[in-house]
C-alpha cells in the first residue's frame, strides 16, 4: 500500500507542477491584458491594441497548455485518490464543480471572443471580453485555492453516520479564512510571473534594439504592476499565511524553519542545511529572535521545535519543506529588490537606457516560476502526513485497486508526453517573441478595409495566417 501511495503522490505532484507553469502566467497576463486594453481605451492609441494582440497570442498558447494539462488534475481526484474522493467529495466537489460551472464557461466563451472577435466587438466590447477572461481565470483560481485551503484547514464540515465528510456550511467553505489569504498570496505570485515575463520580453526588445516602442510599454507595465505585487506578496499576504501556519500547523512551521529545539526568542534561519537524522541545522546563518518576532510580534515568544512533536506528525520530507520554503522566501525578497530598483530607474526616467537593469529584468524570467512552484511545494509537502489536515492521512486516501505498476505506467506516459509539450511550448512562445508585436500573424488584424463591403464572418478570420 505504501508503495502505491508514493507512486500516486508522485503522479499528482508531477502533473500538477507541470500544469501550474501555465495558469500562473495566464492569470498574470490576463491582468496585464486588461491593463493594456484599458490604456488603449483611455488613450485611443492603437499601439496598445497591437501590444495586447501580441500578448494575446502568447496567452493563447499558454492557455491551451493550461487547459489540456488541467483536465488530468480533476480526473486524478477520482482515478488516483478514490478513498479521499469518496470521503470528502461532497465538500471539495462543490468548489471543483463551481470552477467548471462559473469560471470555465466564462473563460472559454470570452477567450474565443477576445481572440477572434476584436473587429466585431468594437473597442468597448473587446475591453469587456478581456475583463471577463481575467475575471474567469481569477475566479477559477479562487475555487481551486478554496479546495486546497479546505485540505489545509478543514472547516464547515461534519462527519456523517457512514464516516463520510459532509458539507455543513456553504459560505463557511467558500469564505474559509485560510482560502482568502492563500488566494491573495497565490494570485500575487501569478501576477508577478506575468509581470516578469512581460518586462523580460520588453527588456529583450530594448537590449536588441528592435520594437523599442513596445519594449518600453512592456517594461513599464511589467514594472509598475510588478512592484505592487512583489510588495503585497510579502506583506500582508505572506505574513498572514505564515501566521495561519504557526497557529494551525505549528509542526509545519518548525519544518519550514528547520527548527528542532523549542525555544524562546527563536532565530530566523537564512541559510543552513537541516540534518534531520541528528536533529540539527548545519552551518546556520541566523537572525536572532527574528522568527519569534515575525510570528508573534514578541522578541521572546516561544516557538515549538520539531522535537516537541511526535514524529508521526512530522511532514515526511522535512528537507524538501525547508528548502522549498527558503527558496520561495529568498526569491520573493529578490523580486522586491529587482522591482524596486527598476521602479526607481523608471521614476528617474533612466530605466530604458540602463542596460544592466534591463539585463537583470531579462535574466530574472525563470525566477518567479521557481518561486511559485517552491511555494506550492512548501504548502503541499508541508501539509503531510495529512491529506486533509488532522482528518485524513495521505496513506488512507489513494485508490485501493490501482496498483503501483499501473500508476507508473501512466506517470511515465505523462512524463514523455509533457516533455514533448514543453519543447513545443518553448519553441512556439519563443517564435512569437522573435516574430514580434508588428507581425500580424494568424490573428485577425482589426482595421478593416473601407472598400470591403462584404464583411467576412468571424470564424473566417481564425485561420488567416501569413
Amino acid at each position: 500500500m505504501g508503495h502505491a501511495v508514493d507512486a500516486h503522490r508522485l503522479h499528482f505532484a508531477f502533473t500538477v507542477t507541470f500544469h501550474y507553469i501555465f495558469p500562473q502566467l495566464t492569470m498574470g497576463l490576463a491582468l496585464l491584458l486588461v491593463y493594456l486594453k484599458t490604456k488603449a481605451l483611455r488613450t485611443g492609441d492603437e499601439h496598445y491594441n497591437r501590444a495586447a494582440r501580441f500578448w494575446a497570442k502568447i496567452f493563447g498558447i499558454n492557455f491551451a497548455m493550461g487547459v489540456v494539462t488541467g483536465i488530468p488534475m480533476e480526473f486524478q481526484f477520482g482515478t488516483n485518490w478514490a478513498e479521499f474522493s469518496k470521503s470528502a467529495g461532497g465538500v471539495i466537489g462543490q468548489t471543483l464543480a463551481m470552477e467548471g460551472v462559473f469560471s470555465f464557461f466564462l473563460e472559454s466563451s470570452f477567450l474565443g471572443l477576445f481572440l477572434f472577435g476584436e473587429k466585431k466587438l468594437g473597442r468597448i466590447g473587446h475591453w469587456i471580453s478581456a475583463f471577463l477572461v481575467w475575471l474567469g481565470s481569477w475566479l477559477s483560481g479562487y475555487f481551486i485555492v478554496a479546495t486546497d485551503a479546505w485540505m489545509q484547514h478543514p472547516v464547515a464540515y461534519r462527519v456523517g453516520a457512514n464516516g463520510q465528510i459532509e458539507l455543513a456550511s456553504f459560505w463557511g467553505l467558500l469564505l474559509n479564512k485560510w482560502a482568502l489569504w492563500q488566494y491573495a498570496h497565490t494570485m500575487l505570485g501569478a501576477a508577478q510571473t506575468g509581470c516578469f515575463v512581460m518586462a523580460a520580453v520588453g527588456a529583450f526588445y530594448l537590449l536588441t534594439h528592435r520594437d523599442e516602442a513596445y519594449g518600453r510599454t512592456f517594461v513599464k507595465g511589467g514594472v509598475l504592476v510588478g512592484i505592487v505585487a512583489a510588495v503585497l506578496q510579502l506583506f500582508p499576504t505572506g505574513d498572514m499565511q505564515g501566521k495561519l501556519i504557526a497557529t494551525h500547523q505549528p509542526v509545519t512551521l518548525a519544518a519550514m524553519e528547520g527548527l528542532f529545539e523549542s525555544r524562546d526568542g527563536a532565530p530566523l534561519a537564512i541559510l543552513g542545511q537541516p540534518d534531520v537524522e541528528h536533529r540539527k541545522l548545519d552551518n546556520p546563518l541566523e537572525i536572532p529572535r527574528m522568527l519569534s518576532f515575525l510570528t508573534y510580534q514578541k522578541w521572546k515568544a516561544n516557538i515549538k521545535g520539531l522535537n516537541d512533536f511526535p514524529e508521526d506528525l512530522w511532514p515526511d520530507r522535512i528537507e524538501m519543506v525547508y528548502y522549498s520554503y527558503h527558496i520561495m522566501v529568498g526569491l520573493g525578497t529578490i523580486f522586491i529588490a529587482v522591482m524596486a530598483l527598476a521602479a526607481l530607474q523608471l521614476w528617474r526616467g533612466k530605466l530604458f537606457e540602463s542596460r544592466w537593469m534591463l539585463w537583470l529584468l531579462m535574466l530574472s524570467v525563470p525566477l518567479p516560476y521557481i518561486a511559485n512552484t517552491a511555494g506550492w511545494i512548501t504548502a503541499e509537502v508541508g501539509r503531510q502526513p495529512w491529506l486533509i489536515y488532522g482528518l485524513m492521512r495521505t496513506v488512507h486516501g489513494s485508490s485501493p485497486r490501482v496498483s503501483a505498476g499501473n500508476v507508473w505506467f501512466t506517470l511515465l506516459g505523462f512524463m514523455g508526453m509533457y516533455s514533448v509539450l514543453a519543447i513545443l511550448w518553448l519553441f512556439l512562445t519563443w517564435r512569437e517573441i522573435e516574430l514580434g508585436p508588428e507581425h500580424t500573424g494568424h490573428l485577425p488584424e482589426p482595421a478593416s478595409n473601407a472598400g470591403d463591403d462584404q464583411e467576412p464572418k468571424l470564424g473566417a478570420e481564425v485561420r488567416n495566417r501569413s
Binding site: 464543480a97 485508490s399 485561420r463
Partner: protein
C-alpha cells in the same frame, strides 16, 4: 434530491456529447473530407472558436458528478483508471494539435498535426463509446464498492472482464459512426464547396452504418443488461426516449435527402440525445451497474449528503443559466459559413 442530480448530471453529459460530439466527429473525418491545406483550415475553422467551450462541459459534468455522487466518482474513475488516462492523453494530443497547427505553415508541420488531430478525435469517439458500453454492461464491483478493469482480457463477457470486449468495442464503433455523421453534418453546415459536398456524402453513406449498428447494438444491449428491459416494462412512458432516437435517425435521412443542412444536424442531435437518454432511463436508479446486481451503485448509495445537494442546486441553476447565455452569444457571433482566407502572402 438524488434523483434530481441524477437527471442534471445525465443532462450535462448529453449536452457534452451533442456539443463536443460534433467537433470530435469533425476531427474524425478531417483527413477524409479535406485534402488540401485550405480545405483543412475550413474544417478547423468550423470548430475553432467553439471546441474549447464544448469540452468544458465534460469538466463541468465531471465536477457535478463529483460533488453529487462522490462514491460513484471514486469507484468509477479508479475502476476505469487506464481507459480514462488514455482518454486524457488523447484529449491533450487533440487540444494541442488544434492550437499548435495554426502557428506555423510548413509541409512538415501541418500534416503532422492534421494526422494527430484526426486520429486522436477518432480514437476518442471509440473510447467514449466503449466507456458507455462498460457502464451498460456492468462492472465487477464487489462489497467494497470498488473494482479495477484491465484494458482487455479475452474480449468475452465472462468473469475476467476487460474494458474492451466484443460488446464494448461494438458500442465504440457505433459511437464513432454516430459522431462521424454528427460531425460531418456540422461541417456540411459550416463550410462550402468540396469540403461541404464530401461531408454531406460521407454523412449520407455513414447513416446506413449507424442504422445497422443501432439495431444490432440495441438488440444485444437488452441481452447484456436485462435491467433495461425491466425498467421500460415498469415505466412505459420511457418509450418516448427510444422513439425520439428513431425519429431523429429517420429525420437525418429525410433532411439529407432534401439537403436541409440545419435540420439534418439537429435531427442527428435528437438521435444522439434519444439514444443516451434511453440508456440513462433504462439503468435508473442505478448509476453504475455491477455484474453482481447486489453490488450495483445506485443513486441512493452513492449520493452526497442532502445539505450539499440542496445548496448545490441553487448555485448550479444560476451557473448554468449564465453559461447558456454565454454559449448562445458565442454561437450567435460565429453563425454562418466559414470563409478561409488564402495565406496572406498571396
Amino acid at each position: 434530491m438524488g434523483t434530481l442530480w441524477f437527471c442534471l448530471v445525465a443532462l450535462m453529459i448529453v449536452i457534452y456529447v451533442l456539443l463536443d460530439g460534433f467537433d470530435l466527429g469533425a476531427g474524425a473525418i478531417h483527413l477524409f473530407v479535406a485534402k488540401t491545406d485550405e480545405e483543412r483550415r475550413q474544417v478547423l475553422a468550423s470548430i475553432g472558436p467553439v471546441w474549447d467551450g464544448n469540452e468544458v462541459w465534460i469538466l463541468a459534468a465531471g465536477g457535478t458528478l463529483y460533488f453529487a455522487f462522490p462514491a460513484l466518482y471514486a469507484s468509477g474513475f479508479s475502476g476505469f483508471y487506464l481507459p480514462l488516462m488514455i482518454v486524457l492523453w488523447l484529449l491533450i494530443l487533440r487540444g494541442t494539435s488544434i492550437e499548435f497547427r495554426n502557428h506555423i505553415h510548413s509541409p512538415v508541420w501541418d500534416p503532422l498535426w492534421d494526422f494527430l488531430f484526426c486520429s486522436s478525435s477518432l480514437l476518442l469517439c471509440v473510447f467514449f463509446g466503449a466507456a458507455l458500453g462498460n457502464v451498460v454492461r456492468g462492472v465487477p464491483l464487489d462489497a467494497s464498492g470498488y473494482f479495477f478493469e484491465p484494458l482487455w482480457t479475452n474480449f468475452q463477457l465472462g468473469d475476467e472482464l476487460g474494458i474492451l470486449d466484443w460488446y464494448s468495442i461494438l458500442v465504440g464503433v457505433l459511437a464513432l459512426a454516430a459522431l462521424v455523421v454528427h460531425g460531418a453534418l456540422w461541417v456540411t453546415l459550416k463550410t462550402t464547396g468540396t469540403v461541404r459536398d464530401r461531408s454531406l456524402r460521407l454523412a449520407s453513406q455513414c447513416w446506413w452504418v449507424v442504422l445497422l449498428l443501432t439495431l444490432v447494438v440495441t438488440f444485444l444491449t437488452f441481452r447484456v443488461q436485462p435491467a433495461i428491459a425491466g425498467q421500460f416494462r415498469k415505466a412505459s412512458w420511457g418509450a418516448i426516449f427510444p422513439l425520439l432516437a428513431i425519429a431523429g435517425l429517420l429525420g437525418v435521412r429525410w433532411a439529407i435527402a432534401r439537403a436541409d443542412e440545419l435540420k439534418s444536424f439537429f435531427a442527428s442531435a435528437i438521435y444522439l440525445a434519444g439514444m443516451l437518454f434511453s440508456v440513462v432511463f433504462g439503468l435508473f436508479p442505478m448509476v453504475l451497474p455491477a455484474r453482481n446486481p447486489a453490488y450495483s451503485l445506485t443513486i441512493e448509495n452513492s449520493q452526497a449528503a442532502s445539505y450539499g445537494l440542496k445548496v448545490g442546486a441553487i448555485w448550479w441553476i444560476l451557473g448554468i443559466i449564465l453559461a447558456t447565455g454565454y454559449f448562445a452569444y458565442v454561437y450567435k457571433s460565429f453563425t454562418g459559413k466559414v470563409i478561409v482566407g488564402k495565406h496572406s502572402d498571396d
